[in-house]
C-alpha cells in the first residue's frame, strides 16, 4: 500500500497530468486540422473533378493503408534527409494530421454518398445551383450520418498519440515510462494510471457522441 501512495505522490501525478495535457493538446490540434483537410479532400473525392479527384482518391487510399507509426517515423527520421526538420511536437501533429485527414476524407465521402440522391435532385429542381444544394441540403444531412464514425476516429486519434512516445514527445505514455524507469515498483501503479487516464478521456468522448446522436436523430 505504501507503494501505491509513493507511486501516486503529487510530484509523479503532476508529471503524468502534464503528459496528459500534451496528449490532449496534440489530439485537439490534429483533430481540428484533420477535420478541415479531411472534409475538403472528401468533398473533392465525392464531386469527381476530372483528374484531380482520381489523384486525390489514390493518395487518400495510399495513406489510409499505411500504419500511422510508419508515417510518424518517416516524418521525424526520414524527412530530415531531404531537409525538412521538425521538433517532436510538430512532427507528431504533422504525421497525425496527414493520416487522419485521409481517414476523415473517407468518412466524409461515405456520409455524403449515404444521402439520398433525390435530395440533390430536389434542390436542383427548385432552382438551387449544385453548390447551394450541396451546402444547404446535402451536407447538413450527411453531417448527421458522419457523427458516429467521426467520433470513433477521434477516439482512435487520441489513443494513437501514444505512438509519439517513440519520437520522444513527452506525452502521457512517455512520462509513465520515465517514472517506472526510475523505480520498477511503480510499474503496476503507472500502468493502472495510464489505463485509467486514457479510458476516462476516450470513454467521455464516446458518451458525448452518443448524447449528440440521440439529440440529432
Amino acid at each position: 500500500m505504501s507503494n501505491l501512495a509513493e507511486a501516486y505522490s503529487w510530484i509523479n501525478l503532476r508529471y503524468l497530468l502534464e503528459g496528459l495535457w500534451v496528449t490532449i493538446e496534440v489530439s485537439v490540434i490534429s483533430i481540428v486540422l484533420s477535420f478541415i483537410f479531411g472534409s475538403i479532400l472528401g468533398i473533392i473525392r465525392y464531386i469527381r473533378f476530372p483528374f484531380l479527384s482520381a489523384i486525390v482518391g489514390f493518395i487518400i487510399d495510399l495513406i489510409r493503408n499505411l500504419p500511422l507509426l510508419l508515417l510518424l517515423f518517416f516524418t521525424y527520421f526520414g524527412l530530415p534527409k531531404i531537409g525538412i526538420k521538425m521538433e517532436p511536437l510538430s512532427a507528431a501533429i504533422a504525421a497525425m494530421t496527414v493520416f487522419e485527414s485521409a481517414m476523415i476524407a473517407e468518412i466524409v465521402r461515405g456520409g455524403i454518398q449515404a444521402v439520398d440522391t433525390g435530395q440533390m435532385e430536389g434542390a436542383r429542381s427548385v432552382g438551387m445551383t449544385y453548390w447551394q444544394g450541396l451546402r444547404v441540403i446535402v451536407l447538413p444531412q450527411a453531417m448527421k450520418k458522419m457523427i458516429p464514425p467521426l467520433v470513433s476516429q477521434f477516439i482512435s486519434l487520441i489513443k494513437d498519440t501514444s505512438l509519439a512516445t517513440i519520437i520522444v514527445l513527452p506525452e502521457l505514455l512517455y512520462r509513465a515510462q520515465i517514472i517506472y524507469g526510475q523505480n520498477t515498483r511503480y510499474m503496476i501503479p503507472m500502468f493502472i494510471a495510464l489505463a485509467v487516464m486514457y479510458f476516462v478521456v476516450c470513454y467521455a468522448l464516446s458518451l458525448v457522441a452518443s448524447g449528440l446522436e440521440r439529440r440529432t436523430s
Binding site: N65, L69, F73, F74, G78, I155, K159, T184, F191, Y203
Partner: protein
C-alpha cells in the same frame, strides 16, 4: 530505394512474414473472443451483458501500445517471460477482439427478429437457433467490416516494433538505423505494407458495393 531492397531483402521478407503471421494469429483468436462477447451481449442474461460491455469498453478505450507494453514489460516481472512477438500478438488480439465484438454484435442485430422467433417456434433452443440460423446470416453482413478490421490489424501490428517483435516495422527501423538511409528505407517498408493492405481495401470496397 532499390538498394535498400536488394541489400536487405532477407530481413525485410522476414519482417513481412512476421507481420502477416501475427496478424493472422491475432485475427483468428480475436474472432473467437470477439464473437463470444458479441453473443454475450445478445443473450437474455443481464450479468453476461454487463461482462461483455465492460470488456469491450475497456479494451476499446485504451491504446493498443499500452496493452502491448503491459504484456511485454509488466507481465514478465510477475508471471512468465514473453518474447516480443508473443506479447505483441496477445495485446493485438485483446485490442482487436473488442472491435470485432462490436462488428459481430451489429451483424447479429441486423438479422431480422423473425428469424429467431421462427427458429424458436420450430422447437430449437436459443443456442441452436443462434448457431444454425442467426450466425450464418449475420456472417454475411460482417464480412466487409471484418475485412476492414483485418486491414487495421495489419497496420496496428506495427506496434510490435516497440516490443522487439521482429515485424516489418521493426526490421525497417533496424535497417534504417544501421544504414542511416531512413528516407528510402521507410518508403520501401511502406510499399511492403501497401502490398498487403491496398488490394484488401479495394476488394472490401467492391464487396461492400456488391452486398449492399
Amino acid at each position: 530505394m532499390i538498394n535498400v531492397f536488394t541489400q536487405h531483402w532477407q530481413e525485410l521478407l522476414l519482417g513481412f512474414g512476421n507481420t502477416l503471421l501475427c496478424s493472422v494469429i491475432a485475427l483468428f483468436f480475436s474472432l473467437i473472443i470477439g464473437s463470444t462477447f458479441a453473443i454475450f451481449e445478445v443473450l437474455p442474461y443481464k450479468i453476461l451483458h454487463i461482462v461483455g460491455r465492460v470488456y469491450i469498453e475497456v479494451f476499446r478505450n485504451i491504446p493498443l501500445l499500452v496493452i502491448g507494453m503491459f504484456f511485454y514489460v509488466v507481465v514478465p516481472q510477475f508471471f512468465v517471460t514473453l518474447d516480443g512477438f508473443t506479447a505483441g500478438t496477445i495485446g493485438l488480439t485483446l485490442y482487436t477482439s473488442s472491435f470485432i465484438a462490436e462488428t459481430v454484435r451489429a451483424g447479429i442485430q441486423a438479422v431480422d427478429d423473425g428469424q429467431m422467433e421462427g427458429a424458436r417456434a420450430n422447437g430449437m433452443s436459443f443456442m441452436q437457433a443462434m448457431w444454425h440460423i442467426i450466425l450464418p446470416q449475420a456472417f454475411r453482413y460482417v464480412i466487409p467490416p471484418l475485412g476492414n478490421q483485418f486491414i487495421n490489424l495489419v497496420k496496428n501490428s506495427s506496434v510490435l516494433a516497440f516490443v522487439a517483435g521482429f515485424d516489418l516495422m521493426y526490421q525497417g527501423d533496424a535497417i534504417a538505423s544501421t544504414t542511416f538511409d531512413t528516407f528510402n528505407t521507410y518508403i520501401v517498408v511502406g510499399i511492403l505494407y501497401l502490398i498487403i493492405t491496398l488490394p484488401l481495401s479495394y476488394y472490401m470496397r467492391y464487396l461492400e458495393k456488391k452486398l449492399a
